[in-house]
Symmetry: C3
Subunit: 198 residues, 3 copies
């Protein structure tokens, strides 16, 4: 089974991935952004030094790299979680994280959308900031996070319509009773999906 | 004219179809799920006994059957209403009811989305349950029905963007003054669409 | 850079385009509807007299004309703003303003969505009506304008998913402190997009 795992940045997606690895050995977690960066460095070592540099490539070259990374993912056997973004929020607007061509190559069984309470996202990001992480990113209001999550849902459904796969919304907007309850809950839900044979 | 008619299960779509047949003889109503089931039985008689079994087929085979059923629909002349679902709600998430290929074959003039008041949907489903219908289906909360209707809207618009057709939302969320007022209203709206020459 | 500029009718899109031209000479503003009308008149001079007549053409012919107009736009160099609609609201439902083929030809860098406060839209339309403009158009309620803006967002995201481009939502729902503050604000935002090199 192959699932694309998405959620707004800084909300807890990586923690959920770590929890998944803790719970099962039968899983490969790949970070699509990292793979794109690796491909880009190989092909354009003169331009690409940092992760952000990949976005500076001309659209056609960026697309070719996305496709190369997708081909690598398609070769991984067993359960694969592709950690990526439905859309990137930039000063120039939202930019889709996937393209029909890469979906066609990866042939995911489904897209998992983690939906968080905007208040929780802000708290978590502030904590990261206090410990020196996420320093370069802009602060977002609750409304902006709500909008980004809505936009992500629409992208996910568009991709599902184009390339017929499941859309699983994991709702994490309810108040936690203890720390990492959302992490635990989401990891369990994802395991259930992996154990399902479509 | 060919229209795809959609709405959440157990809300009154079939009743609206019956009303349409009462009002005009110049109409063919086809149930896409039934047609897929018929095709599947013919090709895989060993696996497919019940309607639900079709979803157990491998994705590629399921797709081929969807395409075969779409070809049959494309051959029907005159006014055709294709009774189907924009998305199926499963424990594994929402699954699209159509694919770009089938839309391309059917070439619908439009997609009609019946949108109901979640309270009405729950009441209707409970009544069905009391009379022995829908016993195997899960109960849904109002929020879940709201979400499913939102998701269906997004699928419909994605399909319309891919294959350029009208999207007609028929709003049935207002309170009825008498029984079957929604049925009557929706049937009239659909007749108006059929009489329109695009 | 090429941007598609969209917003519900009668809300102030043309005024924003005029402001853009005032602010920079390095810009071409093309009205996609006008270009489609010109193409249609050339090819079907017997049928097409008024702008509305283009929609009476059979779907295949209308599509060919959309494609011809898109090819012309693709040849314009420099900064291009394509003034058009994400979807047309008709008595038969919403109809998409673009098709995957035309997007593929135009290759826009992004789609700009102007989102207005429904109250402002109604006020502006009434003012137009008082001066003899928009007389043939139906009056819309706030809810209807809200719905049309939501539908437009979904279309924009579907197109972005299909043809990978930015989606920039320019929020103009806040109360103006002086007349044409929204116009000024939107024009500035669009200029920023044009000065950005993707």
């Amino acid at each position: 089974m192959k699932f694309i795992l998405t959620g707004v940045p800084g909300a807890g997606k990586s923690t959920i991935c770590s929890k998944l690895v803790e719970k099962t050995s039968d899983i490969h977690i790949v970070n699509y952004g990292d793979m794109i960066f690796e491909e880009a460095k190989k092909l354009y070592s003169n331009i690409i030094q940092a992760r952000e540099d990949t976005r500076k490539l001309p659209r056609k070259k960026y697309k070719d790299i996305q496709i190369e990374a997708a081909k690598k993912i398609s070769l991984i056997e067993g359960n694969v979680i592709i950690d990526t973004h439905m859309s990137l929020k930039t000063p120039y607007g939202f930019y889709p994280g996937l393209i029909p061509e890469t979906l066609h190559i990866i042939q995911p069984d489904g897209i998992i959308i983690l939906e968080f309470n905007p208040k929780d996202v802000i708290t978590r990001r502030e904590r990261d900031r206090a410990t020196g992480k996420r320093l370069t990113r802009d602060r977002e209001s609750e409304d902006e996070i709500v909008l980004h999550q809505q936009v992500n849902r629409m992208y996910a459904i568009s991709y599902s319509a184009i390339n017929q796969c499941y859309i699983k919304i994991i709702d994490l907007t309810w108040p936690q009773e203890y720390e990492f309850q959302h992490t635990e809950f989401a990891a369990e839900k994802i395991l259930q999906l992996l154990n399902f044979r479509i």
